[in-house]
């Protein structure tokens, strides 16, 4: 990093153009000392108590010869003397105050007075809610987030590597991994990709997520981004790498597989039978949500022979006054649901709820009454909308909502064949995808029988003691499985 300023004077001169750049001159003995700072970045009270007051008190009984003298007085640990203009510039913008002894001194003292105002203290995991389990989420501050992780991962092996990204924002981005677990290849790839990013302002880790992804021509998220602490810690202990960006409450973990997006932290807090059941429900929900309306279009447009004879009459009855072909009927309802979702996401929560009721009940009911759609389709579309929201990771549920549209169009063109062309494209696309260089649909292709234990189902903790091999961890055993206690469950304990 190079600075465009030759000396401190030039830097100060430019900075003075901003109204929040303040200069305080205090008299220490006979010496006039200047303090420069951005009032918006520092804690004024802190400066008053721990810098100015201390300096004034100490200067009463001792004389200042050199700037080194002052350094020893200040009761703040982050104090530094430097004459490097680049350091001064960057630290000034991070909430440090510059203490200059004489005018035109190049050497000056930097005191950390940064204030974290404007940040949330804590965050409930509202967007990735779970009934059971901790509700601690990340906030917009890097140090707090790393602290949160350290509290749960109490080992010195947790390594944080900091990189500065963003030409204008100079955002601190940290790569987090567990030494001796995570494969170095993944860390290096990630580090290389992060350092190669050339972008002005890093607003959120979701931006980084897209920039470091292996393939940008895909609707699928290639990294999991989550606000849940337990989730990140679980990924780290499995051998994944996490990326935290300052100012973002979401942490990105990778390399991810498709199934990671359908895993909820709650699966691990519930007994494994229930956890597996809910996972299967979620996956079924996704499949249903993607293909239900397409199947309706295909069957009612082309393959009406497929409808069982008992279902035929209710279907005809519900569709008899509908003037549109099934394709437009489906498109009309699907787009209505998309409007509702989008409006609900943009509006404040309270209005959003009202809107849901208005939209869902009034529009749906009226559309059937007006014979714009059949009520069987209304049920299907509403169900598939509901099913698409069972996906725990928001980014993935968006992807699924998007994918149904091409499939509906294909089914309107070629019926069942069209749907399977869609399935084929989808599957081949998924096979070709890679996350940090490792395959995306792992337990299915390449086939890894062992890893089925934690993908579609969540097996018991006795089986889950090994790290997934797809991540190529450096040590594969997480913990030793509890030896099965010999239980005499037979008749009256014999």
């Amino acid at each position: 990093m190079t600075s465009e300023f030759k000396n401190l004077g030039e830097l100060l001169q430019l900075s003075r153009q901003s109204s929040d750049f303040k200069t305080t001159v205090i008299l220490l003995g006979k010496q006039e000392v200047s303090i420069f700072y951005y009032s918006t970045l520092i804690d004024a009270k802190w400066m008053q108590q721990h810098l100015i007051l201390v300096l004034q008190n100490r200067s009463l009984d001792s004389e200042i010869k050199d700037i080194e003298d002052i350094k020893a007085w200040i009761p703040i640990n982050d104090v530094e003397i430097t004459d490097e203009i680049t350091t001064i510039q960057s630290k000034l913008l991070k909430g440090y105050a510059i203490v200059q002894l004489h005018e035109n001194d190049q050497k000056c003292l930097l005191v950390n007075l940064a204030d974290n105002h404007g940040l949330r203290e804590n965050n409930d995991t509202e967007n990735e809610f779970s009934v059971v389990g901790p509700k601690i989420g990340f906030v917009e501050d890097l140090d707090t987030n790393i602290g949160l992780l350290r509290k749960l991962l109490n080992i010195p092996n947790l390594i944080i590597k900091e990189i500065i990204v963003g030409t204008n924002s100079k955002t601190k981005v940290a790569i987090i991994y567990i030494n001796g677990v995570t494969n170095e290849q993944n860390i290096q790839t990630l580090e290389k990709r992060l350092t190669e990013i050339d972008y002005d302002v890093v607003f959120d880790s979701s931006l980084l997520d897209q920039m470091i992804s292996d393939n940008s021509f895909t609707p699928f998220p290639l990294f999991v981004s989550t606000e849940r602490r337990d989730r990140v810690v679980y990924s780290l202990t499995s051998g994944q790498v996490a990326v935290v960006s300052d100012g973002s409450p979401y942490i990105v973990t990778g390399p991810a597989t498709l199934y990671d997006f359908f895993i909820s932290a709650e699966d691990y807090y519930l007994p494994w039978i229930l956890g597996s059941f809910f996972r299967l429900i979620r996956i079924f929900g996704v499949i249903f949500s993607m293909f239900a309306s397409a199947l309706y279009v295909a069957i009612t447009t082309y393959h009406y022979e497929v409808i069982p004879k008992d279902l035929l009459s209710p279907l005809i009855f519900s569709r008899q006054y509908v003037p549109f072909p099934p394709f437009f009927e489906v498109l009309f309802l699907e787009i209505t649901i998309e409007f509702l979702r989008e409006a609900g996401a943009r509006l404040p929560t309270k209005i959003g709820q009202t809107l849901g009721i208005v939209g869902g009940i009034v529009i749906g009911e009226a559309a059937v009454q007006a014979a714009l759609t059949s009520n069987i389709l209304l049920i299907l579309v509403a169900l598939s909308a509901l099913a698409s929201f069972t996906t725990p990771i928001y980014k993935m549920s968006n992807t699924i909502r998007f994918l149904r549209f091409p499939i509906i169009i294909l089914s309107a063109l070629w019926g069942g064949i069209g749907i399977f062309i869609g399935v084929g494209f989808l599957f081949v696309h998924l096979i070709r995808l890679r996350s940090l260089g490792s395959p995306y649909v792992v337990p299915i292709f390449p086939l890894r029988i062992m890893e089925f234990s934690d993908s579609f189902i969540r097996s018991s903790f006795q089986i889950l003691n090994k790290r997934p091999q797809r991540l190529r961890p450096k040590s594969s055993v997480k913990y030793l499985p509890k030896k099965a206690v010999k239980q005499k469950n037979n008749l009256d304990e014999e």
């Binding site: 063109l413 070629w414 749907i419 084929g424 081949v428 070709r432």
Partner: protein
Amino acid sequence: MKNAVDEKYLISPFLIVPLMYVSMVGVGVLNFQRELAEHAGYNAYISVILVGISLHFIIWMIYKILSSNQAGLDITVINNACFGKIAGNIINLAIVLYFFFGAYIEYKAYIEVIRVWLFPAMKILPISVVLVSFIYYTVSGGFRTVTGLCFLGFLMTLIFIIPENLSLLPYLHPLNLMPLLNHSITDILLSSKSMLYQFLGFEALLLFYPFIKSPEKSQKWAHSMVFFVTLLYLMVLIVTFMYFSEGQLREISWPTLNMLKIIETPVFQRVEYLAISLWLLKNLSGICLSLWAACRGMKSVVLQIKPRMSLLAFLVGFLILECFLKDRSSFRWMAEFYSDVGLYFIYGYIPLMFIATQLRKTWNKG
């Protein structure tokens, strides 16, 4: 000599299972029964067994041919080594064309099924363009992607084909099979020839062999797949024979699909529509595998064309053939020609290569 394939493109030996499956089970499984019964009547099940046994020998020979070369190279290199540059490349070009036409016939046969069963009045060109772009997307993803699609096709049809046959059990007439042997050996051999046509496609092994990680481990899988697929054909055939009488079968073009008509589920009244749609993925994966083999073979023919270019050329060839080959008779002629060539390829060329490579091996040693 070129280098062997890079480690990261290899597939594990087990994955030869879906590859063998999709190449041996073609769209023919929907209608092979009728042609088989044409000569040997209801004794045709013997033909299936005969072809199955002979293919075990062929697979064994293929593995011997390919492992005779230390570096694990494909057939094109061995051709060049055995017959010299020019003659070797002519043979290679013939192999490439063989795979290309194999893919095209599979494709055309499936389009035929769609036409007859689903959309009699459908315009073929738009769906062809979509299918061709799908094939391009898959094959350009490399061998691993092709294998992945084959895996999906394998799973999808397998979970379908066995319950389908089991649910027909209540409607069968086992006595249809009697008498067990009343046809001449010539008839049975003629049926065997049409049975071999169904199996054609597995020769792609000659080209994808170097892509298998530790290929010698895959041999047992290859053999068990030949066994399994033979069993599968046998099962479908016997179920068909017990379901239809011989006279009935002669009148039916797609016996497997006709049998499906009787099955009713609470959600689906006519299961064959689902079957045909499901079959799409398996068929496309077979086509992709053959085309991949053709592209791979093209790479080593004189001109050193980039596989992507040859793939594009092949697919454009598909569309052009689609436009000009409109009548069924010329397609039938092409399929029969392909079947004849396949017969010589399997039972002529491969044993010949087997002897040649074994002789070369001993000659080199001595």
